[in-house]
Amino acid sequence: MFIASMIIKVNPEKADDLLESLKIFENITTYGLHKDDNIIVVVEAESIEDVEKLSKRLLTEFNEIKGVFPTYVTSDDADGMK
């Protein structure tokens, strides 16, 4: 299982709504809205490809998202990182 954190940069006026929308995603844990336009999320996925797909999906589906910036990636199975 891959675990990755990302900062989602959003339009501040839509940030609260977006935070709620993100909670619908099963594999996303949100860690709140910070400094007006930064939503911290942690994604859990079977493959790192799913993390990437999700990142792209967020960027394309939500116009209020200005950027998705990864900050950390690891695996709960160390061999998965090879």
Binding site: M1, I3, A4, S5, M6, I7, K9, P12, T29, Y31, G32, H34, K35, D36, D37, N38, I40, V41, V42, E44, S47, I48, E49, V51, E52, K53, S55, K56, L59, K66, G67, F69, P70, T71, Y72, V73, T74, S75, D76, A78, M81, K82
Partner: protein, 750 residues
């Protein structure tokens, strides 16, 4: 309460993200203790210079995270950096040397491979002279690696046929800085991004090519909502999400727009006349002209004329000019859309012109900042002197004093260094095609994929004796090499990268090289010894030894790095030159007070003194508005543009190792506007044939309104469909940088 491993990792990940934006999520950070050892390093991809932390457990790479202490990226990464650790153990890592036998590459010992390389080089040098061999390096190699190559080829073998791939991406920016300011590399630094009130992006898809800098633009807009972003780009890109005004010009026709903006700035009274009087000369490129003559030159460039040339509304040009003029602090940024053009140097000059006219330079929030495409194009090749006319630390082979200074440091007779520049990249590969250069050593780059108009050069590369030192195999170049040497990759060697903003950063060796891979500098030292030049290389026992010798070259130069020994670089997040002593903090702005080289006595009260020019004055150029070398016509009616996507880097040698990135954008394609597609009969995901005067390719069609009707766009990453079979190899006469960005094509249904 005890955490499960999953919870622990989730909290660690969230904590890393929080740190990146300066907040704390968890009161008790001690729960994050683990066995992972984190190594402070620098990203291997573009020229932004992001700080990356590489996590190692038991000798294996187990995690990556952004370096929150690095002021460039403050913990953020882009998707490529995010997967960096996966490249280290990628499926195509070359683990043993290969030599060609019976037309097949087969494994060999290091000794056998190096003996073969040395014998072939010796044979050619003895029979045909030193200029029968050449070196082609990279803006991705470490400074130490390029330095050793420079010393071997220019100082010992005695040829200036030494080039690097920055010739293909940054040479026009170098030409622009040198001609305008008299010194290469930016006046300001990234610090200016946090103070600008307007960003002027020209030929830069910042969101995809430099995502972390894009975030800094987003952050600046948030901190100061009145900040404006104006872009000149022939294509809509993801950067459009944050811009206020887009001048979507016809590809290759933006010089007139820049002149028109200058004309409006003057006519509307936005110029800084004192600054112009104090710090600016004027030139038509051949001889000095007066300010009045420059104004006369500009008469032709009305917004209406530029509108006609570029295909954009005249009122948008006026609007852009007024924004530039009215805003007190402006940062211009550009990249390949400006540089990879036959008028690349001129366009660089015209960007600088706007800053010189308005005095928006050399102060916080204002700069004319060329963005770099590779992590060490600035550090290793521009500063290290890895081009055919250069010597280390911004010296030139043509200058006797420079040759003497370097010969003294290299401990060779000055006569070893030829006074005549060697062959620039395109001339070098032309000479290879003609059989004039018989042996080529390629380090850390992939010219059989990246050269323009490849059909013209591939056979020459096959026919010559070509050595490729590379971490990955096969690449388009390694496939046709005679010897392929496995090179250590990022994380497996220590060294220094110098990024866009004159910042040099240290990278540690955190891992053992895969297989039998060796550090490139070590391979070159081995070759030097086998060629009989070992004496002047045997004192290089470590990367630090090489760096220390290089620092001697920089002492007293405009790019003085004397104050940046390894001991200091290991502690800090890089230093921006000039940094002449170990207690100097580095320099955020050049040519002004605070720059240790600023000559107060000569400046006589002037705010800026461009000490690379004899009288301290920069130059505003009246350059003709040259269009593309190959304009569209009846036979080839569509303009073909090339560029990048977020998920891939250059020839995908690295990103191709990451299945996730490959699957994200798996196939080559051509972006076609729906109006054109309708006329030609193309459908989304159907196939099209793109034909230029140099070749043709069948590609999947991606319908998109990003290009304007009449234009198509090809990303250039995939080896199976080489867009460079189509591109034009005509080059800027000053910088010798080819015009990758635009040529004429026709598109048919395949």
């Amino acid at each position: 309460m005890a955490l499960t491993r999953r919870e622990f990792l989730k909290n660690s990940a969230a904590s890393a993200a929080a740190a990146a934006i300066g907040v704390s999520l968890f009161a008790n950070q001690s729960v994050f203790a683990s066995e992972t050892v984190w190594h402070k390093s620098v990203c291997r991809y573009c020229g932004v210079g992001c700080g990356v932390m590489l996590g190692v457990e038991g000798g294996k790479p187990v995690a990556v995270k952004g370096d929150t202490k690095n002021t460039i990226n403050k913990g953020l990464l882009c998707v490529k950096g995010f997967y960096l650790h996966k490249v280290i153990t990628g499926k195509d890592r070359l683990l043993k040397p290969l030599i060609r036998k019976n037309d097949k590459l087969v494994e060999a010992s290091w000794d056998e491979a190096m003996e073969l390389v040395a014998a072939k080089f010796k044979e050619s040098i003895e029979a045909n002279g030193p200029d029968s061999v050449a070196f082609y390096g990279s803006g991705q190699a470490e400074t130490e690696e390029t330095y050793v190559a420079n010393k071997l080829f220019k100082g010992h073998i005695g040829t200036n046929n030494m080039e690097g791939n920055p010739r293909l991406c940054m040479a026009s920016a170098v030409g622009g800085y040198l001609t305008t300011f008299g010194a290469d590399e930016p006046v300001g630094s990234y610090d200016d991004l946090d103070h600008a009130e307007m960003f002027f992006l020209i030929g830069s898809n910042t969101a995809e090519s430099h995502p972390v800098l894009y975030d800094r633009l987003v952050a600046r807009k948030k901190a100061n909502p009145s900040t404006k972003i104006v872009a000149i780009d022939p294509r809509k890109t993801p950067t459009n999400k944050i811009i206020d005004l887009h001048l979507q010009v016809k590809p290759g026709y933006d010089l007139a727009v820049m002149h028109a903006i200058a004309k409006v700035l003057i006519e509307e009274g936005y110029t800084d006349e004192k600054f112009i009087s104090d710090s600016v000369n004027f030139s038509n490129g051949k001889e000095p002209i007066t300010y009045e003559e420059y104004k006369t030159f500009l008469k032709k460039f009305t917004p209406e004329y530029a509108s006609e040339q570029a295909g954009i509304p005249a009122e948008d040009i006026v609007k852009a000019a007024k924004l530039f003029g009215q805003t007190s602090r402006v940062v211009s940024m550009w990249t390949m859309g400006v540089n990879q053009r036959i008028a690349g140097v001129w366009l660089n000059n015209l960007i600088h012109n706007l800053h010189l006219l308005t005095g928006k330079l050399g102060k916080p929030g204002s700069d004319s900042l060329s963005l770099t495409g590779q992590p060490n194009a600035c550090g290793g090749v521009r500063e290290g002197g890895g081009l055919c006319h250069l010597l280390p630390a911004h010296r030139k082979v043509a200058k006797e004093a420079h040759r003497q200074q370097i010969a003294d440091i290299w401990n060779v007779p000055v006569t070893n260094i030829q006074p005549k520049p060697g062959k620039h990249t395109m001339a070098m590969f032309d000479a290879i095609s003609k059989g004039e250069i018989k042996n080529l050593y390629v380090m850390c780059t992939n010219p059989a994929h990246s050269l323009p108009n490849l059909n013209k050069y591939l056979q020459g590369m096959k026919d010559c004796f070509m050595v490729v030192a590379e971490s990955f195999h096969p690449t388009e170049t390694s496939k046709i090499a005679d010897v392929v040497l496995p090179a250590a990759f990022w994380g497996e060697k220590e060294g220094v990268y110098g990024c866009t903003e004159r910042r040099s950063q240290y990278m540690p060796k955190a891992l053992k090289p895969q297989g039998e891979a060796r550090w490139d500098a070590d391979i070159l030292i081995d070759l030097a010894k086998r060629l009989g030049h070992g004496k002047n290389f045997e004192h290089f026992k470590s990367a630090e030894d090489i760096w220390n010798e290089y620092l001697k070259c920089t002492k007293g130069k405009d790019m003085d790095l004397t104050g940046a020994p390894y001991s200091r670089l290991k502690e800090v997040r890089g230093l921006r030159w000039p940094v002449p002593s170990v207690d100097h903090p580095g320099t955020t702005h050049r040519f002004v007070e605070g720059d240790p080289l600023f000559p107060k006595d000569k400046a006589e009260g002037r705010r800026m003194y461009f000490y690379g020019k004899p009288d301290g004055k920069a130059v505003i150029f009246a350059r003709p508005d040259k269009g593309p070398a190959e304009p569209v016509d009846a036979e080839y009616p569509i303009a073909m543009m090339t560029g990048r996507v977020l998920e891939h880097f250059h020839t995908s040698t690295m990103t191709g190792q990451v299945p996730q990135l490959v699957r994200a954008v798996p196939k080559p394609y051509v972006e076609v506007h729906p109006d054109d597609a309708k006329k030609i009969g193309l459908t989304d995901r159907g196939m099209a044939k793109v034909i230029t005067r140099r070749g043709e390719l069948e590609l999947m069609v991606k319908l998109s309104d990003r290009p304007l009707p009449g234009n198509v766009f090809l990303p250039w990453h995939w080896p199976e469909k080489l867009s460079n079979l189509l591109t034009n190899d005509v080059f800027d006469p000053g910088s010798k940088e080819p015009e990758y960005k635009v040529c004429a094509c026709k598109v048919e249904k395949a």
